[in-house]
């Protein structure tokens, strides 16, 4: 079974990318396929804690991200540069992640056979 990386680079709630990326992730994980989850660019906003998605008529995505361990999804990577550019720190994120720099980003992505971007 080929491994799959899912890359999120869009902010949540403006489009349904965040939800359909999550559906894709969980569907693959439920078939025991090795998956990795990557956040870069505005995608890092998906991980912010203390957001109130209900105000936008959406469900809070971080609640589902909190359940990733139940699906044995432990490989979660966030771009260090993307956090820095947005003046965000690891402490502001809702879940435990691996913060990696640009050099590690491509090396880590290269560990996966396939990738999908949202």
């Amino acid at each position: 079974m080929k491994s799959l990386a899912i890359i999120n680079s869009t902010a949540p709630y403006g489009q349904c990318n965040y939800r359909e990326s999550l559906d894709m992730l969980l569907a693959n994980a439920s078939y025991d396929r090795p998956v990795g989850l990557f956040f870069e660019g505005d995608g890092v906003f998906q991980l912010l804690k203390n957001t109130d998605a209900g105000l936008t008529g959406n469900k809070d995505v971080t609640k589902t991200y909190g359940l990733l361990e139940l699906y044995d999804i432990e490989e979660v990577f966030v771009s260090k540069q993307s956090l820095l550019k947005r003046n965000l720190t690891r402490e502001q994120l809702a879940i435990d992640v691996n913060v990696i720099d640009d050099a590690q980003w491509f090396v880590t992505l290269n560990n996966y056979n396939q990738a999908l971007s949202f």
Partner: protein
């Protein structure tokens, strides 16, 4: 060397990606590769039978229909993404008590599981 491909279409019918995917698929066949599945995920508007572009514009839906019939390539449309965007087949329309159905001929609704099974074993996964 012949490879097995799965294509994911996240491009809407009005964007170039939907047409580029078709051109790519054609080229794969002409180079003797196999396409296990074309999976329409976010590009659901491509599967809508009510899409009717002006006569001097390209009808991407029709191109895919002809392609699928000629080369026996399954066009699977994600059922949850389709429902979200208002594209259903006859069966789903009845289940959901909807008055109409509009999934274009040649396309089949399927779950994400069908995509997982196809892509987990393919040689190349390409997203448009």
């Amino acid at each position: 060397m012949s490879l097995n491909y799965v294509l994911v279409i996240n491009s809407e019918v009005t964007s170039q990606g939907a047409h580029s995917a078709y051109l790519f698929a054609q080229e794969l066949i002409s180079q003797q590769h196999t396409i296990t599945q074309v999976f329409f995920y976010q590009g659901i508007s491509v599967t809508n039978s009510l899409v009717s572009p002006a006569s001097d514009e390209t009808n991407v839906t029709a191109l895919w229909q002809t392609f699928s019939a000629s080369h026996n390539v399954p066009l699977i449309s994600c059922i949850s993404a389709s429902l979200r965007r208002g594209v259903v087949d006859d069966t789903v329309a009845k289940e959901q008590h909807l008055t109409n159905h509009n999934l274009a001929d040649g396309f089949t609704l399927g779950g994400l599981g069908e995509f997982v099974t196809a892509s987990a074993g393919c040689d190349r996964l390409v997203q448009f």
